[in-house]
Symmetry: C3
């Protein structure tokens, strides 16, 4: 049998979806479907080299959602001095409001919670400090390479006991500036999740502000999840409500069912419903 | 060494081909070249979660034949109550006439044997019953999602001792209707394979009827294979004859050589010849 | 855990690059980024079946550089009678001048050293003889398939003790003819590398001649590398000088830093600088 220095991993998530504002009955990707390769090599003295490349696709049609390897494509080193990652990757800004009761997935996970400022960067460098007293931080820069303005973002992270809290800032290549804050507290009977973000829209003057409130309540072999989301996009307000029960068949496989309600100023309310299976490998 | 929850698998098949009606001398893909990932997870109580994604390519040019992951892209559950598969996949209709002396591959495997009704479906659900008394059955539905009419098909399967027999029916999204029957009987000294299919062409009135007769005779470390194929496509008749010897170097690798003759009404007879190597991994 | 008959392998190489004649500051792929699958099966009696498919991508943007599986896509057999490979692959011509102090990578590895005649072939067959007395040889032919003229090339290889020497010839599908010679001698304190190639340009009359001289000097846990390259392309001369230090963190991972100088007749001298990390998996 063959041995590789890399691990094949991914996710296939498919199920039924009903959308009162779109396709009424469909077999849909209720979360991202992905396949990727990653690996870690021990270099001695606690130093590690690592890489990761990942691709997203639509399992309902078998078509790529984005080009290979658009989701992430990095190589890096980590050790006592922190972690350095080079390549295409998400910027540190998006980390702060990245917690979500639904992982941003399913009909219940709808709603912008990063003020539209959650960039993936080409040609980028991200450095994470080691953790000290529960604190760690990351800064990321993406080279403009003459094609665009250089973009940069940073995040400060605090993780101690039941609390994880983060604040972040982005100076985007399109000259927007955004900040975000997010946190998750595990009360045992439930986790409470909060996120907020603001984008100044810069010269366009089109400000965007988002709030997101969620909870995950362990229940039997699964969890009950709910969230409220508010998005004020240059005065146009959208409110999302999501509720779901996710049942773990194993650590890798779950069944889920969710409802989502969405109301945007001036538009009809949209009702969504889904159920499906998610399998991580 | 890295461990994955998924298996990398595929096939590379290349060889020489001569085609009196096309390219005279070529290095050709004599069967599908494929690469895919699949995995099975035991969930306890006999329940399994599984996934599979597969992509086809032309090994002679190194180019994709279809987009990733067009061939199949599914997730499913199987257990005491049968098997449920969601995603992009072949419909149950094609299962009945799916046996072929050449697997539909090489110059000898030419010839339509599914009356042109062998669909792959996006957004589909296929359910297979458990087997009982040798019988099992499958039904499949593909959601139209507002883009097309819903398609559906079903197959009934009987497998007992040396006999495998199947009948199937399809109500296609283009309003055609098709039925098919197929079987394989292992007489020990040889396997005999039969398939027939009919497509009513619906409103177009362009009926299509196909017959296929094949045999596989074990011979030394390989097998002698032959088939006759008849295709009446709205009155235009095509006849194919194929003959080949396939030599197994191992359970995964084989050498083959085949001839194929094709005669279509009003066209010159085409003679084809191939030899090559097929490697499954 | 899943077992595969194939190995996942590849490379991610990213770093900083400065180019006085191009993008001043960039995060760049300083060598090819690749991912591929390969496998070998023992068939008994020393016979092996093998396959390999490989794809190149730009890790800085996460985009494919070439279609899957453009780099190589082959199946073959090897044993006491030599090795036969079918599919898309490099021709034997390019093997002779294939040694390079920088593997053709990084800013220091710049410079044509194969007289522009280093083809990848679709639909090709390459046969390598077994080695005898240090000698081995390969011939390769790519079928024109009615689209182009058949191309062919051959290489003679001598490997004994510290010396590897090769000469090759190509009769290209565009009617050019090219020869090349290359060698590497390991003196212990340093390796010396030489390559030369000539392309007659055929009817176009645009001859091209290239020379390449390089050295690799082991130094601590890494190596000091240098090369000089000369390319006379129909009278337009380009000279490249490259110098670099490559530090091995492990057998799979290295840090490198290089400088490259390039002067083409009539153009300004270009200065390049890079440093980065390369991780093989």
């Amino acid at each position: 049998q063959a041995q590789s220095n890399a691990t094949l991993y991914g996710r296939v998530d498919l199920g039924y979806r009903h959308d009162s504002g779109g396709v009424r009955q469909q077999i849909a990707n209720n979360s991202m479907n992905a396949v990727g390769f990653r690996g870690v090599e021990e270099l001695g003295d606690g130093l590690q080299a690592f890489f990761q490349i990942e691709h997203r696709f639509d399992a309902d049609t078998g078509l790529p959602r984005t080009p290979f390897w658009d989701e992430i494509s990095i190589v890096g080193l980590r050790g006592a001095y922190g972690e350095l990652r080079l390549g295409r990757q998400g910027g540190p800004f998006g980390v702060a409001p990245d917690q979500d009761a639904f992982g941003g997935d399913t009909v219940a996970g709808a709603g912008e919670r990063k003020a539209g400022a959650d960039d993936k960067y080409n040609n980028s460098v991200v450095y994470w400090t080691p953790a000290a007293g529960g604190f760690s931080a990351a800064v990321g820069v993406s080279a403009g390479e003459g094609l665009q303005r250089r973009g940069a973002s940073a995040v400060l992270r605090y993780a101690q006991g039941p609390l994880l809290a983060m604040v972040s800032y982005a100076d985007r290549s399109n000259r927007d500036h955004a900040w975000a804050a997010g946190g998750i507290h595990d009360f045992g009977a439930a986790k409470l999740i909060l996120a907020a973000a603001h984008n100044d829209g810069d010269a366009s003057g089109k400000e965007r502000t988002t709030f997101d409130l969620g909870t995950i309540v362990p229940l039997g072999r699964g969890s009950l999840r709910a969230k409220l989301n508010h998005d004020d996009n240059d005065g146009v307000k959208t409110r999302n409500f999501g509720l779901g029960y996710w049942h773990d068949l194993s650590a890798r496989t779950l069944l889920y069912s969710d409802i989502g309600l969405q109301k945007t100023d001036g538009l009809e309310r949209v009702r969504r419903f889904d159920f499906g299976i998610r399998h991580n490998f």
